[in-house]
C-alpha cells in the first residue's frame, strides 16, 4: 500500500517497512533539487517530526516522517545525485526505509485517492 502526507511525502509499506520519498507535486514546487540531508541507519524517527532536509536552488524544505520507527536504509546514492528527486521522485529518489513501530499509525495517512483530492483542493 502507498500512503501520503499533507507535507507531500509518500510512504510505500511492505512487510512493516515503509520506503519514504517526496511526491511529484513536492519536487515540482521545489524546482531543481541540489542538496539533501538524510538520517543514518539506526536513527529512531517519530511520526510528523523532521527526518531530513531537501534544498533546491530556491528553497529549503524540511522532510517530515510519515511514520514512527527505525531507519533501516538511507539512500546515499541520492545524496550524491540530488537531481534524481526531479527525475524520478517515486523511484530511484526514494530517501529512507523505516521499520514501523506501530502499523496502526498508517490509518491517519492519506490514500492515493485522498491525496489526489487534497492536491486539487490545495491548488484551488
Amino acid at each position: 500500500m502507498i500512503y501520503f502526507t499533507k507535507e507531500h511525502e509518500w510512504a510505500l509499506v511492505e512487510d512493516n517497512v515503509a520506503t519514504i520519498g517526496i511526491t511529484n507535486h513536492a519536487q515540482h514546487s521545489l524546482g531543481d533539487v541540489v542538496y539533501l540531508e538524510l538520517p543514518e541507519i539506526g536513527k529512531k524517527l517519530e511520526k510528523d517530526k523532521i527526518f531530513g532536509v531537501v534544498e533546491s536552488v530556491k528553497a529549503v524544505s524540511d522532510l517530515f516522517s510519515p511514520v514512527s520507527g527505525t531507519v533501516t536504509q538511507s539512500n546515499h546514492n541520492l545524496v550524491q545525485s540530488p537531481e534524481w528527486v526531479n527525475q524520478d521522485c517515486m523511484g530511484k529518489a526514494w530517501m529512507i526505509k523505516v521499520a514501523l513501530d506501530s502499523p496502526s499509525e498508517l490509518s491517519s495517512l492519506m490514500s492515493q485517492e485522498d491525496y489526489d483530492k487534497y492536491l486539487k483542493e490545495e491548488i484551488k
Partner: protein, 342 residues
Amino acid sequence: MFIMKTTPLYHRHLELGAQMTEFAGYQMPVRYTGDKLEHMAVREKAGLFDVSHMGEIWVTGSQAEQAITHLVTQDPTKYSSGQAFYGLLLNQNGGIVDDIITYKFSSEKFLICVNASNREKDFDWIKSNCDAQVEDASDNWSQIAIQGPEAVAITARYLGAQVLDIKRFGFIQLDDLIIARTGYTGEDGFEIFVPNERATELWDALSKEAMPCGLAARDTLRLEAGMCLYGHDINDQTNPIEAGLGWCAKKYQVSGEIKRRLVGLMMQGTGIARPDYEVCNQTGMVIGHVTSGTKTPYLNQAIAMAYIDRPYCDALEEVYVKIRGRLEPAKITKLPFYRRAK
C-alpha cells in the same frame, strides 16, 4: 480586498506553463522549465525575462537635473543624453531608500527605474524632496530583459541593427521603445521598456530565440554576478560603504567608522548558506549574517553574500556558517563570483 496585479504578459506565462508566485504584489513567473536550464541559457545563449513589475518614474522640467543631483548619489551632469547610470536614493541617515538606474534623456528629462517593492516609497520620497515634476508611469510601461552572449544579436534581428551601436549603459528610443544596454545577470544584453499594449508582440518575437526565464534564475544570476537585491542585501538601514556601493556614492560622507562589510562567501563543505544564517569565527562567536545564498548552476558551488563585522571581513580567511546547528567552513571572497569574458 487585496488584488494581485498582473503584467500584460501574464497569459503568455500561463500558456508557457510557468509556475507563478507573488512578488511585490504581482503574479510573476518563478520558472518555466527549470532553474538550472534557464540560468545556463543566459550564461551560454540568451534568456528572456518579464520585468514589467519594475517601476518607472519620470522626473522632468527645468528643475529636473537639479533634482537628480540632489536625490541620486551619482552626478547627472557628468552624463550625456542617452546615457544611463546606476545609483542610490539615500534617506536622511544615509540608509539606502532604493538602488536605481537613472536614464538621462536631457537635462530636463530623466527616467528612474525603481524596484517594484519600493515604487510607492520612492515616488513619495522623490516627490516630497524636489521641485521638479514627478510622475509615476509604471502602470503604462512593461519591461522585457534579454540577456546572454547572443542577446544583442537576437535583438538586432528583430529590432534592427541600430541596437548594435548602443554602448554599455547607453540607451536609444526606437519608435515607442526605450532600449537600454543594461541588465541584472552579469551578461551583455538589453532591458527594453515597452508600452503595455506592445509587450506581448515584443515578447513573442524575442522568445523565438531567447529562452523564457523566471525570477528564480534572475536571482541566481544576479547573485553570481555579485549584484545586490534590495530587501535582502541592502535596505533602509544599510549604508552604501558597507554594502560595497561606495563607488556610486562618492559624495556620501560616512559619519563614524564602518563596522561591517558585505562580502562574498564560498562554501567549502556540502551545505548551502541561506539568508539569515549566522556567520561565526573559529570560536563560534557570531560575526555576521547571510543576506543571499544558494547553490548556483553555472559555478556549481554554494555561494552567499553576508555582512561580516570588521576586522573579520577584511582578511580573506576562513569563517563558518551555522547551518542547522553545524558550523560549515566558508572562504571570504571578493565580489563578483562570476565575471563574463569580454
